[in-house]
Point group: D2
Chain length 345, copies 4
């Protein structure tokens, strides 16, 4: 299918472009970036010299092309994305959209406006977006015209939590202590993410106030009907890639570890991109792949179930998951163009 | 005072040597290493060429020197240290000892033997060791002949937890999710800690089963009389230095954040090496210093108090804390030779 | 074709395995490792769980399988490889071999023995090995039963130097100052390559005495008939991947930069894996790809031509180049299974 | 003495402040930063909370304080510094100045204007600045009111080159291939120096056109009367600290390695901050110290002398060298406040 990509020059956009360029069924029609319009993509990412030399278009220049593409990806900032969606829908009502921002992940626009601080420009459209987490929402994605691609942290948390909440086998407070590399902060100029600042630096930020917190709570409520008592505590570690979520929960009375294992097997044993492993995983297990590795252990002393979940923030946490959604929307092999785990180091 | 150092060639030993070399009142009489006996210290750490060219002695060669030193530091592996202590005490009953291993941190030798897997060789001596965490045990250290220097993780956890447990203002399960750089694993040959393996790698290990877990529980019991319900969950992050402990606790009914703040102020406001900061700290705040930075926030939704505590694992978590103890034992200015925060990057 | 891989568990071996697993025409029959025989490949590299779970065979166990494979790759240490080659040839005289060690790169066994310090076990076989640098030796590789895959540094140096020497347009001393990440040192236990040692560490080693020096000199002599006056000066930098060679040469009288550009164009314009770029490249341009980026500048003041050449040491410098050779040997599309540049970061 | 520091918030300024704060004879009267005026220094570098809480003053606010300070340090950008110098001299003609920029390093203002692209505002003052490289210009510094602190790269090159040029024992082209960590680029917002961009990235830049090139040539001419034929080729490596210069030179006919060794001994054997080592050094040998480690080897094949020289770019390459100069100007022990090598890792 023919594809346009907005926000092609951030890290997620770049990763999306480089993957789609090799996808057997995707044909890139345009790459768009207002900031770098007129430059070649390969001038911004010289690695792609001779391979992705497309000239970047500004927003306006893409309008005439919209009717020639089947699908657009939006790798734009929160708040900006919805403005593009509004415009694009007006120009071509049949076009498919996969949005990588947070603008259409929360079904309740009040919650969106509270956490994101923007007025939502097209509240009525939110319900038309399927939440793009294939392992729990594949059927809806299959039939969706619009998909809201999940946040990176939420992907790492919802996948391990959803089966346990849905089966009603955990209770009480859920604490998630997540660690992320800095590529999630993007490629924009910044002091905080300079190499000299990040090296040997580990710290928490936005404990309890990160926008990915309501995404987890609301999504789990949407899919299970249950309200969780949830604390999300993200941290920065001196890495480029990788999200590692350590999840602390309590089992309901009578629930055994066999029940947990069985639940995970029932939900995920056949999922190509989820590995239920019998050791504590590392972000290195998933770097540069579309995989999610999950493991759990039980601490007898404190009666706590600890779940370890890791993904690559730019892949399963953003770009390759977006392609997984595209594959599903078009009835392609779900793994097409994203099924490699080539690089351990 | 005259000093001997055993285990001088590991990272903790090396850090201790380099600090003591500049300490106004310390005079190094010998450096010992069985593995590298006969080599100069500066052959192992070429940085110190022309500055610390002492030849390393094997264990036996140090015996005749023991009566000429006032104090020995032991930066030896767990299980090895107690053997040295036994021997050294026999040779010189007046010598002072600061032990950086875990061999004398647990007053109950059964607990030691359970968690460390060794028979304790000199059970009767354990009680003669003061737990060397000055901010909670200064008086005992002052009068001690023997000091058990705390573990790196425990230092980062006991300092923030002790006041709250002692004042009886928290309750229920305590979860600590700690992140550490890899220098704590030492300088020995290893595959797991190769640069190529560590870069972009984050992972949990020994959840609930790390030896530093009983050290926290037992020490807090010794100092407060209270048994805590405690889960310790350590992680490796791709850094050389720094420990970051994120602590999740519940407040007792009626306890306010003002109570927490007041408690910390009461205990630590005048402590030179503890900073109670009004922002979420980073390991970068304490790298290469003897400081502990502490901050707390409250999550209303889940009614959870989150405490952030960070130290440098080789400094406050090992070597500079050992010197702080030495200073106290000898009635010196407590900050002598360890009071610098010279390097932000 | 059916394939066996010896030395599958080092970094080069692992990279080779992960690439071949996705190669459309390759079928892995066995993976061999004496050290880890009996373990699954995915136990050593957990990332490949569920994907490459082959059990590693020891040397002996592979013998019966040799007649069932078309081609073996040897990713073994220097000196070990020739012993395997001898044995394998005896068992199956028709089998194809691609050797990634240095044992068959130097046509003159005296030079080999001088620089490697081993007696060569099968001197008569050396001449049967084609030097596996496709861009300068494609025809020989096409018809070869045995290929000696080039060293990582030599690949980065011979590609830019060969055209200039062959056209006889440079003269005098050639100085190459190379910088490499540490993955080239492999995955074996080591103190020098611990994360804490490598971080913030840059240093030269083996200036003028590295085994890759004669490989460059002899290969260039074999292919051009000319003896170069050559100084190779390698350095370690705190990176996992990437080789960067900065080459300082003098132009012959009357030679212009246009001549240089024309020469490179003539030799390499149509080479898929060589990019002649108009800016100073970075190792980031080639990380995790089979590419070699080349650029040159001229310093008028000192009349020096400076050439910048960069490759990924594990890819074009080892494993993907080995597959490029395989593709050529089997008449496949040369880019098959190795033509991706997916990851900028 | 009483001190003011301009440009206190860049990395060099910060390093200077943290060192001076501990200097036994220095008293900081003011810290200045136009950009961050009104903030506390410890808000920008939280590590120094409770230790360096001085409020940053804008330029104007410092004027009334100038008559109360003995010495000002300028850690300002090139081109900005000379404007400050002009103003400061007007306000207080007796004040001492140590300038860390490039504005007063080149005695010939034409050369300055050519390489820096600015008109020089106070050409007549240039001659009043002593070049602040103590090991070759100590006497002039001792009597100087104004000192131009050397560039980081030039320090690493002039120290090893000066004795050989001065003794007239090398000839022909001098090639210096330098590698630097990224802290030299400062703390300003930037895309190029983001962690994700720097990790696993090595590249050359400004070959033959870096401003530090004329600084080396002119300084060596000033001090030896000789014009060198010099190519400076800097590279970025993924490190925070450290400069490593690999220097390729030719010996004059009849000169032996003993002559080289003797020359270095004659010039530097008694220099506290220069170590002539008998192995190839690493940046790790000098990180966070004021040292310069020098070693040389000879390549018989190409008759090339290779000299390895390494410094910490923020210390001997900037801030601690500035303090060394201050110590000399005030007749203090030259090592005062800068003589530590505390941190190997």
């Amino acid at each position: 299918m023919k594809i346009g990509i907005y926000g092609a020059t951030g890290y997620s956009g770049m990763q999306l472009v480089s993957l789609l360029k090799r996808h057997p069924h995707a044909e890139i029609v345009f790459l768009s970036s207002n900031r770098f319009a007129g430059k070649k993509f390969s001038q911004l990412y010289t690695k792609f010299s001779g391979m992705i030399d497309d000239v970047l278009l500004d927003e306006e220049s893409t309008y005439p092309l919209l009717t020639k593409v089947d699908l657009v990806f939006l790798a734009l900032p929160h708040g900006v994305s919805m403005r593009y969606v509004k415009k694009i829908k007006n120009i071509d009502k049949d076009i498919k959209i996969i949005d990588l921002s947070g603008d259409f992940r929360l079904q309740d626009s009040d919650i969106y406006e509270h956490w994101y601080g923007f007025d939502h420009l097209i509240k009525n459209s939110i319900k038309d977006f399927a939440y793009g987490l294939p392992e729990i929402n594949r059927d809806a994605i299959k039939n969706a015209q619009y998909v809201a691609n999940p946040g990176c942290f939420p992907t790492s948390m919802i996948l391990p939590l959803y089966p346990l909440v849905n089966e009603d086998i955990i209770e009480g407070k859920i604490i998630v202590d997540s660690k992320t590399g800095v590529s999630g902060a993007g490629r924009k100029e910044s002091q905080n993410f300079l190499f000299s600042e990040v090296q040997d630096s580990t710290y928490a930020y936005k404990t309890g106030s990160h926008r990915h917190s309501p995404e987890v709570v609301e999504t789990i409520k949407d899919f299970t009907g249950k309200q969780i008592n949830f604390l999300f505590s993200p941290h920065i570690v001196p890495a480029t890639r990788g999200i590692y979520s350590t999840i602390y929960v309590n089992l309901k009375n009578g629930i055994t570890l066999e029940d947990i294992q069985k639940t995970y097997n029932d939900y995920y044993k056949d999922e190509h991109f989820i590995e239920l492993v019998d050791y504590i995983p590392s972000t290195k297990d998933v770097n540069r792949s579309n995989k999610n590795f999950i493991h759990f252990e039980y601490d007898n002393l404190t009666e706590t179930l600890i779940i370890y979940s890791t993904i690559d923030n730019l892949m399963k946490g953003a770009s390759s998951q977006a392609i997984q959604n595209m594959n599903i929307m078009y009835g392609l092999e779900e793994t097409m163009g994203i099924d490699f785990d080539l690089f351990y180091i």
